[in-house]
């Protein structure tokens, strides 16, 4: 089969590889009908995530048709049309029983858990196509993909909804939703969202659905800000406006009640702290650029909440912890517990509350993946979301 593979920093190729096979009883093989490039794939593309190996198949936002099943899967049939969560979860461990599926104890193979434990103390769940620390699983930017614990993971979708409408249930729609949920929004709140990429877009829409009075989107891509404005957000272009001053003024001096960092470890922008972080990265003594997190802590109103769906990979420094403590802030974060949100969000899609396909800017074939990665990274204003058909 053909698959999109990572060969190194900014080196992604479409290669022929052996077809996946059923290995464990609870496996399924999915023939992929739609697969997307996620913003977090760009962290891999940029070589920011440790423990990638040349030849790893990328992709963790995908859906398709069941073509083979292990003998332990009884709730699926060949031909079922399913969306697959990017987090792999067993369904039976302590964490899965609490629906904290991105923290599953069992889906990251024991050897790979060692890498995660060395870096983080404990291993989160395995993910599709997202480094060996997080499972070393082949991803879904391919014609076929093996889905472990398929009885827990594969989510059947009704025929009357198109791929474009349901594909993002695999990651970014629940991620945006959980970002808003983690922000602990109360009716009437003002929510600031840093990053108007796909996750930010869904966080903005979810924040309104969860009772936000105002949402302020912060980015520097006019196209993305326009998309945010379509959802009813007010916008700040950080190239033109002093973000901190604007946030303070527009909230009557209080600061936003809730702040969502939908940017993560690779913040853009010409700021002293960001330049310092880049310099540290360049000489190998730093990993992440938490410019947005620093800004959110200082901007947030006293007693507010910071929700952090953005991906961070390593060690952060110069965080304004004094501000964080003295302002009594709360920080909530985590990889998305996708399984928990699929059914309720499917109902939201069916009811027309959320229209996930609005963020799709490009529909390409799998063979166009290398160019698509490059464009998604370098032409962010034009490329909001790339969906590929294998």
């Amino acid at each position: 089969m053909r698959a999109v593979r990572w060969h190194g920093k900014k080196d992604v190729r479409v290669d022929n590889v052996p077809d996946p096979e059923i290995v464990n009883p609870r496996d399924a093989i999915i023939r992929v009908t739609s697969t997307a490039i996620c913003g977090s794939d760009l962290h891999l593309y940029d070589g920011m995530i440790p423990s990638m190996q040349a030849g790893d198949i990328l992709g963790h936002e995908f859906m398709g048709e069941v073509v083979a099943l292990g003998k332990g899967v009884t709730n699926l049939r060949i031909g079922d049309r399913v969306v697959v969560p990017f987090t792999i979860a067993c369904g039976q461990c302590f964490f899965c029983e609490k629906t904290l599926t991105s923290l599953c104890d069992n889906s990251n193979p024991a050897d790979n858990q060692d890498i995660a434990e060395a870096m983080m103390g404990h291993s989160p769940s395995g993910l599709f196509g997202y480094s060996h620390m997080l499972g070393g699983y082949a991803g879904g930017q391919a014609e076929l993909v093996r889905v472990p614990f398929a009885d827990t993971g594969c989510f059947k979708v009704p025929a009357h909804l198109t791929d474009d409408q349901v594909l993002f249930l695999s990651d970014i729609l629940p991620t945006g939703w959980m970002a808003a949920e983690n922000a602990e929004i109360e009716k009437g709140d003002t929510v600031a969202v840093w990053g108007a990429g796909p996750v930010g877009q869904f966080a903005i829409r979810s924040a309104f659905l969860l009772g936000a009075e105002r949402v302020i989107a912060i980015d520097h891509r006019p196209g993305r800000l326009a998309l945010a404005a379509e959802a009813g957000a007010e916008t700040i272009d950080f190239e033109d406006v002093d973000v901190m001053a604007a946030l303070a003024e527009t909230t009557g001096g209080n600061g936003p009640d809730r702040c969502i960092d939908a940017v993560g470890m690779e913040a853009h922008g010409l700021a002293i702290d960001n330049i310092q972080d880049r310099a540290k990265q360049a000489i190998g003594i730093g990993t992440d650029r938490p410019h947005v997190l620093r800004q959110a802590i200082v901007a947030c109103r006293k007693g507010g909440t910071i929700s952090m769906p953005g991906v961070y990979g390593g060690l952060l420094d110069n965080l304004p912890m004094g501000a964080f403590v003295n302002k009594g802030l709360t920080l909530k974060t985590g990889q998305t517990h996708v399984h928990r949100y699929m059914q309720p969000l499917l109902e939201r899609i069916e009811a027309g509350d959320i229209k996930p396909d609005v963020i799709i800017s490009h529909r390409l074939s799998l063979s166009e993946a290398p160019g698509a990665y490059d464009d998604f990274l370098n032409k962010q204003d034009e490329f909001t979301k790339v969906v590929m058909q294998p």
Binding site: R5, N16, G55, D56, D105, A110, G126, A138
Partner: protein, 247 residues
């Protein structure tokens, strides 16, 4: 396994005392440092500075009786105690705990099923039961497959299982697994501890770690694999992953 002196100090967690040098070692350190310092005065350039620095470190080591390097690399006191009790030249002692979301009776019964060990214990090829009731192990060590006999040395209900190689074995090893109810009905904790005589001493032990066939690494991974098997009915694997480049 259990608390030592009321402190929470499972095997493998106790550190050597900070002041870890004996009187003889301290004296030798001071003398060596002084000699090195004296020689340093006869040297010119960076070599002299370096020798002087090393000499003063040795003197400081002798006077304080503290050697962080020895503390880091040498045997810990609990390892020394195990070696002494077992009559080994040295011991490596490792412990690991895991919580399994299943009742203790079931966890113990599945764990006690030696024939099923190869399913979850990566470096165990087979465990057969000899006519005299002892266990015949075929395991993988850094040199390849090895065979040895072991026996159950202690067993209490479904709370404790201890296994050891028989006396005179070429691979002296003991393992002890305690099964406890996790708090608030959260399943079963297995507290495993493995002690062995590293063939060739601690250097070979580090070499074994590189090949991943070291009992401490095995204990850690095997308990996870066992947990996965009990909780989910299978053990997560990530292959085939298509990592071999095909044209």
């Amino acid at each position: 396994m259990s608390d030592i002196d009321g402190n929470l100090a499972p095997p493998g967690t106790r550190l050597a005392p900070r002041r870890n040098l004996k009187a003889g070692e301290r004296g030798a350190s001071v003398i060596a440092g002084t000699v090195l310092g004296a020689l340093a005065t006869q040297q010119k350039g960076p070599a002299g500075v370096l020798m002087g620095l090393l000499g003063s470190l040795l003197v400081a080591r002798g006077i304080t009786g503290v050697s962080p390097a020895k503390r880091l690399l040498g045997q810990r006191p609990d390892e020394a105690a195990v070696a002494k009790a077992a009559g080994w030249s040295s011991a490596a002692l490792l412990s690991r705990a895991v919580t399994i979301n299943a009742p203790r009776a079931e966890v113990f019964r599945r764990f006690r099923d030696f024939a099923a060990w190869p399913e979850w214990a990566v470096n165990v090829k087979s465990i057969d039961i000899n006519d005299d009731g002892t266990l015949h192990f075929t395991t993988l060590d850094p040199s390849g497959a090895v065979e040895w006999d072991g026996e159950v040395t202690e067993e209490h209900g479904d709370t404790l299982l201890a296994i050891a190689s028989v006396a005179g074995s070429a691979f002296p090893i003991t393992a002890r697994y305690e099964f406890r109810d996790a708090p608030a009905g959260r399943g079963t904790e297995i507290h495993g501890a493995v002690a062995y005589e590293p063939p060739g001493g601690s250097l070979v032990r580090y070499a074994a770690k590189l090949t991943q066939r070291e009992p401490g690494i095995q204990l850690r991974r095997d308990l996870k694999r066992f947990k996965s098997l009990i909780e989910t009915g299978e053990i997560a694997v990530n292959d085939p992953q298509g990592t071999d480049p095909k044209a």
